[in-house]
């Protein structure tokens, strides 16, 4: 009789690890489905999303692998990967999925869950950029690009890259010194008060 042999390494050379499934898996699946209004059982791992994602080569796991992790309840792994941060929400995957899985919304949901559960962001620079943008909206009701860039650079302690670019943008009047502002800033403050997060 022929004995079945299984590979001991993945295609990337890591040892194959058994996946332990337990009952809490369903909680995680429900949470993600709830946040993303998407049914994960529809995904048949055709890899269309991963093939179309312009940034999958820079991610530690491809988008469909993230869906697989959720299906198996591998919460920590899904929330600590770089994929959810490198995803820019371009909707390419969501548009191309033959089964109508809203992958981009799932990435939004996972990112927000990671923040809530205080799981360190695999791409801290990206989170600090998002926060710089949101702070700007909180202050002015609109985004002030120059200030966002300066604050982001201070936060990431990277003051010197892109200086030339900054000058080129200034000389072409792409970066306004003064912000464009909402008059009724009280209403913006209220919006932020009602949606407090521990960003």
């Amino acid at each position: 009789m022929r004995t079945q042999t299984y590979p001991t390494e993945t295609i990337t050379g890591e040892p194959v690890q058994p996946i332990e499934l337990d009952h809490s898996a369903q909680n995680f699946i429900d949470q993600v489905e709830d946040l993303s209004h998407s049914h994960l059982s529809r995904c048949w791992h055709c890899l269309t999303c991963s093939g179309g994602c312009p940034f999958s080569e820079d991610m530690d796991y491809m988008p469909n692998a993230i869906i697989r992790m959720i299906q198996f309840g591998l919460k920590e792994k899904a929330l600590s990967c770089s994929t959810i941060w490198l995803c820019v929400g371009c909707n390419t995957c969501s548009m191309e999925c033959p089964n109508g899985v809203d992958v981009a919304a799932i990435m939004d949901g996972l990112r927000q869950m990671a923040i809530q559960e205080k799981i360190p962001a695999a791409e801290p620079g990206i989170l600090s950029f998002h926060n710089a943008v949101i702070d700007s909206i909180a202050r002015y009701g609109r985004t002030h690009k120059l200030e966002i860039m300066m604050r982001y650079k201070l936060a990431s302690k990277d003051l010197f890259s892109d200086i030339d670019l900054g000058f080129r943008m200034m000389s072409r009047r792409k970066l306004d010194l003064m912000p464009s502002k909402v008059r009724d800033r009280e209403s913006i403050r209220n919006i932020f008060k009602q949606n407090q997060t521990d960003r």
């Binding site: 909707n91 548009m95 939004d108 926060n131 943008v133 690009k145 670019l165 009047r173 464009s180 949606n195």
Partner: protein
């Protein structure tokens, strides 16, 4: 009733068009104004939330977008110039439509009645309508000799709950053909520009942007035409010197086709100077009087 015959639209510019992409804003106004369409800026509009807010806080993203829906005058369709803002506002509108509770909370919060009939209009929809009315007939051949790469980036990608709506893919090509310009067929037409990675992971954005630029150059395109201000900025700032070809806002080329309406000051706001190309093609001197 078509949109153009309505001639009076409210207008949501969004942060990019109000600041970094003023040339996009000005050329869009110039173009629609020429055909008698008046745009009135929504009073005291705020940022739609941009990609950062919905990335980390969906509720905050909803409220920011929703405020604009309540600021919009109830009796006019609202034109949204930026594809990113359009998607955020449309998303908020869908959420409102599906929840009485949200409608009531927002009515209280913003102190204005919820308007279920507010029509949000993408710039493409307005242009498609104007095209049906035959506005391009008199402009035929104005951009003769220009070879462009139409670039949509991710602006037409829609999540599943919106994928049954009109999308106007091919509108840049059809419009350019009507004006006499030739569009190339190329693989990067809908490839995302990298959005915020351009700031927070510049190397990744640079790789994408230069693939896109090289892709356009390989087909013989002389310039790229985009309808998204964010794409415009990213292509310009992350493009390596060897891959530089001019990037036009769609609205700039539309205005160029209107004799005497284009302003040379728009070109001065580009990081990749398009003036030499327009001169070589004898487009600028023929269509734009000196000093304009």
């Amino acid at each position: 009733m078509t949109l153009v015959s309505q001639t009076n639209l409210s207008y949501f510019p969004g942060c990019s068009l109000a600041t970094t992409a003023k040339e996009n804003n000005a050329s869009l106004h110039t173009f629609v104004d020429h055909f008698g369409v008046t745009l009135t800026e929504v009073d005291d509009w705020n940022c739609c939330g941009s990609s950062s807010t919905h990335s980390v806080n969906s509720e905050l993203a909803f409220s920011l977008a929703a405020r604009n829906l309540f600021q919009a005058p109830p009796d006019k369709p609202m034109l949204i110039a930026c594809p990113g803002c359009f998607l955020r506002l449309k998303h908020a509108q869908k959420e409102l439509a599906g929840s009485k509770e949200r409608q009531e909370t927002c009515e209280q919060q913003f102190n204005r009645p919820y308007n279920p009939d507010l029509k949000l209009v993408h710039f493409f929809e307005l242009l498609a309508d104007m095209s049906k009315e035959g506005i391009f007939k008199e402009l035929g051949g104005r951009l003769n000799g220009l070879k462009i790469a139409p670039y949509y980036g991710c602006m037409l990608a829609r999540p599943p709950h919106m994928n049954k709506e009109k999308n106007h893919h091919g509108l840049i090509e059809k419009t350019m053909a009507a004006l006499g310009a030739e569009s190339v067929y190329w693989p990067f037409i809908s490839r995302c520009c990298g959005t915020f990675l351009s700031v927070s992971r510049p190397k990744i954005a640079e790789k994408q942007v230069n693939r896109i630029m090289q892709g356009a150059i390989a087909t013989g395109a002389e310039c790229i035409v985009t309808a998204c201000a964010m794409c415009h900025l990213n292509l310009e700032i992350r493009c390596l010197p060897e891959n530089r070809i001019p990037i036009f806002h769609f609205s700039e080329l539309l205005s160029l086709a209107l004799e005497g309406k284009f302003s040379r000051s728009w070109l001065k706001r580009h990081l990749i100077d398009p003036a030499p190309l327009l001169e070589e093609k004898q487009l600028i001197n023929a269509l734009v009087p000196a000093g304009k």
